[in-house]
């Protein structure tokens, strides 16, 4: 069982950091509701360090996802082949653009993904900053609380869009190449 180093980085970027962020989003919405919106007698809920650490972890994953995507995987995606190259499998963007039936995956998908993904770390870092600063007192700022929740929802949708486009683009023109990493040896039949 082998994987190329570029495929591995793409996997780490998307299925690692990106998917972890998306999974964490649903938990965050529940925890946010429990701490600041749900009616409860325990006013100490909002001061639980759990939510702050959870948000910090989400911010960390969001930044890792966009930085690995922008500075490690994207350069391989947009690499330019030398003149006369006919096999475009190592040049995903050019491969997609070479057919009318696949060009949209770049023109719509990647053009959208490469920008909307950056909304995610900005939004979740802001939410982390506000929750860390206000803690339980966020209950006393309903407008601010609703706005933070709205921005978190925007980050959830944006991460979902970036993940969807990334998965579809990688299906039609996968980022591949580089050195081969052997994960497991098996028997041929």
């Amino acid at each position: 069982m082998e994987i190329t180093s570029r495929s591995l980085w793409t996997f780490v970027h998307g299925m690692g950091f990106g998917a972890l962020y998306l999974l964490a989003c649903s938990g965050l919405l529940v925890e946010f509701h429990r701490c600041f919106i749900a009616r409860t007698d325990s006013v100490a809920l909002g001061d639980s360090p759990f939510l702050k650490w959870y948000l910090m972890a989400m911010s960390f994953f969001a930044w890792l996802a966009v930085l690995t995507g922008t500075y490690i995987v994207y350069p391989w995606y947009r690499a330019t082949p030398s003149a006369g190259t006919t096999d475009l499998t190592a040049f995903p963007q050019k491969l997609l653009m070479s057919h009318a039936t696949t060009a949209g995956w770049h023109e719509m998908g990647m053009e959208w993904k490469e920008h909307v993904a950056w909304l995610v770390p900005i939004a979740i870092t802001m939410a982390t900053g506000v929750v860390t600063r206000y803690g339980q007192d966020l209950r006393n700022h309903p407008r601010l609380r609703s706005a933070v929740l709205a921005v978190v929802l925007f980050s959830f949708v944006s991460a979902g869009l970036a993940g969807f486009w990334g998965a579809m683009i990688n299906k039609y023109a996968p980022v591949s190449g580089g050195s081969t990493v052997t994960l497991m040896k098996g028997d041929a039949h």
Binding site: S42, V43, A44, D47, V66, T70, Y71, Y74, P75, R78, A79, E107, M108, E111, W112, E114, H115, V116, W118, L119, I122, A123, T125, M126, G129, V130, R133, Y134, G135, Q136, D137, N140, H141, R143, L144, A147, V148, A150, V151, F154, S158
Partner: protein, 112 residues
């Protein structure tokens, strides 16, 4: 106040710092979308946005937008941290973020 044997102190913070965080985040996202549109329309601007050649203009667009977001957050926080809540700033922050999100959709951004 004591709950389950633990004492908790509720600190009432002014809302200015929260408004600063919201407005600067909205501004950062809006700036990102506007810079991306300008880079798409102007070859000269696109060239100046190439901070890291393998990534292309995306490197400059995102670096400048993140810098604007952080600087505006620090600046507004210093100005408003002792102020009471600024509802208008929160509303504008969310609106800027929503507009920025819409502008990032390629057919919408291509209108300009």
């Amino acid at each position: 106040m004591s709950i389950h044997g633990e004492s908790t102190a509720i600190t009432h913070l002014p809302g200015g710092a929260g408004a600063a965080a919201l407005l600067s985040a909205g501004f950062g996202v809006f700036a990102l979308s506007v810079l991306a549109i300008i880079a798409d329309q102007s070859p000269a601007f696109k060239k100046t946005m190439i901070f890291y050649l393998p990534t292309g203009p995306l490197s400059g667009v995102t670096t400048i937008a993140v810098a604007l977001w952080i600087v505006s957050w620090i600046g507004l926080d210093l100005l408003w941290r002792r102020s009471n809540s600024k509802g208008w700033a929160i509303t504008i922050g969310v609106a800027l973020l929503a507009i920025g999100f819409l502008l990032m959709i390629p057919p919408v951004g291509d209108i300009f």
